[in-house]
Symmetry: C2
Subunit: 343 residues, 2 copies
């Protein structure tokens, strides 16, 4: 523990009041005194105790994140690391701290409730929204500022969110493959009770339908997005009597798995079979070096974290403001994993 305000004040022969005001930039303190106080504070490495301050002000200067662990295998989705890194940048610049809670899906609601009831945070980020996500109504009802990373289809009441245009993104990717002559296009998706995965499938189905291609359920897979899942999916799908000539993947890791399976089977990527993947632009999973490995719909999840945090801080500072929303478009980057369909 460090110096306290009282001690600092005593050492300066000033009252705590004056020292507090001097440091917080209030006008009613002499310029000379202010400087004297600031210098002494620096010298003593004084930082106001956050607990005491938040008790006095009623604001915690902290944001809560509840990261869900997929109940099945307690998998923590790797996008969280980068999203949080982005949000963390914003927080530290604004003098906020981040408090994190990682809990199994089942305990999630309680985790939000607790953080709030204990007065631990000024606002929250909602991660991984599902269809009709109950957390949104809950937080609205509790009156806590929050921003959802993603959206929740089925929730009508307005709320603040930041999302990428998953539908459009996968629609365009599908159209791109269709233009290359592909007709048998597989979708290797995340779990479709997750909102983002559902929207991606919708976009994919829409593009197919508009092009007069009947969506084939046999070509759609969904699971936790791991490399192994990608491998299994591609292996299975290539065994079909009428196998796909192109794959749409929901994550880089899945795409790795797809590639491994395809290569195992002696299929040339970008020649015999095409692959487009979504790329969250994770810092440790770059899509190739100079030339992109995969053709990809790309959007930086880190940037999303930065922006979502900014939105949240804004709603905290102007509580009466109506909900903020932000829809980010992805960019379609052409790499070496796509080519014309062989006929």
């Amino acid at each position: 523990m460090g110096v306290t305000l009282k001690e600092l004040a005593a050492s300066l022969n000033l009252s705590p009041t004056t020292v507090s005001r001097a440091l917080n930039g209030y006008p009613e303190v002499n310029a000379k005194t202010r400087k004297r106080v600031r210098d002494a504070a620096d010298r003593a490495n004084y930082h106001p105790n956050t607990r005491a301050r938040s008790l006095a002000t009623g604001r915690t200067h902290a944001i809560g994140h509840v990261i869900p662990l997929s109940d099945s295998h307690e998998i923590v989705n790797p996008v969280f690391a980068d999203f949080i890194a982005g949000a963390g940048e914003t927080y530290s610049r604004a003098g906020y701290e981040m408090v994190l809670s990682m809990v199994p899906d089942a305990d999630e609601e309680q985790a939000y409730r607790n953080m709030i009831a204990r007065g631990a945070v000024d606002g929250m980020i909602v991660h991984g929204p599902k269809l009709n996500d109950p957390r949104i109504a809950m937080l609205t009802q509790l009156g806590v500022p929050f921003v959802v990373h993603g959206r929740s289809s089925g929730v009508d009441a307005p709320y603040s969110w930041l999302d990428i245009n998953n539908n459009r993104s996968f629609r365009r990717a599908t159209e791109f493959l269709l233009q290359l002559g592909h007709r048998r296009i597989a979708l290797v998706n995340g779990l479709e009770h997750m909102d983002f995965a559902m929207r991606r499938r919708t976009g994919y189905v829409q593009a197919l339908t508009e092009a007069g291609v009947a969506p084939d359920p046999a070509l759609m897979r969904q699971a936790e997005m791991t490399e192994v899942f990608g491998h299994r999916a591609a292996t299975d799908l290539m065994r079909l009597p009428d196998p796909p000539t192109a794959f749409l993947s929901s994550s880089m890791l899945v795409a790795y798995g797809l590639r491994r399976a395809l290569v195992d089977q002696g299929v040339r990527l970008g020649r015999d079979v095409s692959v487009i993947t979504h790329d969250d632009d994770l810092s440790y999973l770059p899509n190739g070096g100079d030339v992109p490995l995969f053709t990809a719909t790309q959007s930086s999840v880190r940037e999303a974290g930065r922006k979502a945090a900014e939105m949240l801080l804004k709603t905290i500072h102007t509580p009466q403001h109506p909900p903020l929303t932000c829809l980010m478009e992805t960019t379609l980057i052409v790499g070496e994993s796509t080519g014309a369909a062989i006929r």
Copy 2:
């Protein structure tokens, strides 16, 4: 914000003192009253305000983590997500919360200082120790309980740490390859100013030397551990006049890159060239399904997180206790990526 203790007490016609004691399990309160209080608290969803509580008790019931972002590319190492998930399990079980700060390498020391000076945490976890890491002396001097995930060669004074036996792990892996007849063994390592990477190289060099094989600097690479780095390293190394017949990799992602490069060159994994990788057992990066993809030195970083958190809580609760240490061995899992050297 929720109900306050005073309100709850008033609604029960009791003093705040009694309500507090009833809820905190002190003996000097009638069993009947206690039940009445507990019930009312549940009904009102009362949770004590953490800020107020920690102000009163002097303990925050919070642990600080400072996650470094590699200064070059601001990469956040994916192992952190799983480590933190593990630590988080322990924390929530013990009623602690986790406060996170993600900062560029350069600002790291200040981030620790701030958290402590502001009285935001009861203890800290030190991530990613480098050789002769200054944070250890700093925290020791500040008198804050902490546990290092890893160790720091060059720091003599005792401190609490939890580490895997990197040296032994890579020594064994190297010996394994030597026994298979490999002599040209490449090391594709993390950045060697990181303690773990340095220890791995030492283990590797020791095994080679003991076997009478001269370590060849041309066969050692180090960088941020991404897939792309693995690909580049393998591509380069295979171009050598006397290319390696085996690779040692420091992470799963690097191994993915190695495999891609090798496959690109038409080399068969486990036949023409062998690969052993370290596997942190990340939840979203499983080493294959039923049968392991890679021969690997495996150790769950999530389990490490759980244990490190437990150690930290222990040192917090018994401050006079001497430093705790824990050295975890890895297990060598044989997969399909290794085989006898071709002669």
